[in-house]
């Protein structure tokens, strides 16, 4: 497959981790307890670590002199191709956990499958990230169970969050042009193959958490095509502020 499409495919994976990492980073110092605050920041840093590997690879593939920072900080909103799920704001702890939970289960299966890619760099990144993501999935699933099977209030809040975020789950499996090309080349993950397992795993946790799986017929999409929710612009202005104000700045 050509390099431009491969870069697009890589960004499709990397942007999810970048934007979710940024969302979690917003919670630094605001976690409900010190321990959970640190745990969520750890996850954020894991995701940023993975993002760097993807962006470095994308920078290496690109014809011009792009660096990882160009991909992270200097694109416009329409050029980010993350799913809508990960850009949703931190409304409350239940909402943050539900968003994490719905993403982690997808992320784990995606990386697991990506280990069979024909692209060696992607295989290496998948192998390295998989241990981290296994832990993320354990963390968020445990919390879904705790909140669901906790007090009346925690159950109400986590159920509301799951209900609200469920409409973004279908987009996880959608395929862009670049995705289709990557799949055809044996590089990309065929998301149809992991969708069944995803629903099965998520349902099992919800059941254990005594929560209801939402029944929805309409799903929301757009992020993968660069059409984002109203929350995205605020997130980007926060994230890009430094690079936009002091172009080329370094630590």
């Amino acid at each position: 497959m050509n390099k431009d499409s491969l870069i697009k495919y890589i960004l499709g994976i990397a942007d999810n981790s970048l934007i979710l990492g940024q969302r979690l980073g917003e919670l630094t110092g605001h976690g409900p307890t010190l321990e959970v605050d640190i745990a969520m920041t750890n996850i954020s840093l894991d995701l940023f670590g993975q993002v760097r590997s993807y962006f470095q690879y994308a920078a290496q593939l690109s014809e011009d002199d792009k660096t990882e920072d160009d991909f992270a900080f200097l694109r416009t909103e329409r050029e980010y191709v993350n799913v809508l799920l990960v850009e949703q704001p931190n409304r409350d702890f239940g909402y943050t956990i539900a968003r994490q939970f719905l993403f982690d289960h997808f992320h784990f299966l995606l990386l697991n499958e990506m280990q069979n890619s024909k692209d060696e760099t992607l295989v290496a990144i998948a192998k390295k990230s998989l241990k981290e993501v296994s832990y993320h999935r354990r963390f968020s699933s445990d919390w879904v169970k705790r909140l669901g099977d906790g007090t009346e209030e925690s159950k109400r809040k986590i159920q509301l969050a799951i209900n609200d975020l469920w409409r973004f789950t279908e987009e996880l499996f959608q395929k862009t042009e670049a995705d289709l090309e990557a799949i055809k080349a044996g590089i990309g993950v065929e998301t149809d193959k992991i969708k069944g397992k995803y629903l099965e795993n998520v349902s099992a946790v919800l059941e254990e958490a005594t929560l209801q799986k939402p029944k929805l017929e309409f799903f929301q999409e757009g992020g993968k095509k660069g059409i984002h929710s109203e929350h995205m612009g605020y997130l980007l202005s926060d994230m890009q502020y430094m690079q936009r104000t002091y172009p080329g700045m370094k630590w």
Binding site: T33, L34, E35, V36, I38, A39, N42, R138, D142, R146
Partner: protein, 97 residues
Amino acid sequence: MSDKKKNWPLWEVFVRSKNGLEHRHFGSLHAADEEMALENARDVYTRRSEGVSIWVVESKHIKASNPDENGEMFEPAADKVYRHPTFYDLPDEVKHM
């Protein structure tokens, strides 16, 4: 503080930094139960690869000596110089003593 704001119980964390070494006390944290204590310990104390094994124990299970009794507990040991093996000449070859 009202009951609703009650903190989770306190746990003591012990981490083995390398295989072959003993678990050492690293600190304490709050958690609702054993599982959460273990996960919190992992996140709070071993995120820079400080450990290969973690023990957690709820702090209330630790019986601690009373500082008011320090006199009878510890002072008798301090005044008997013959209790310390300080009267031997150690050969230079013996290290780590």
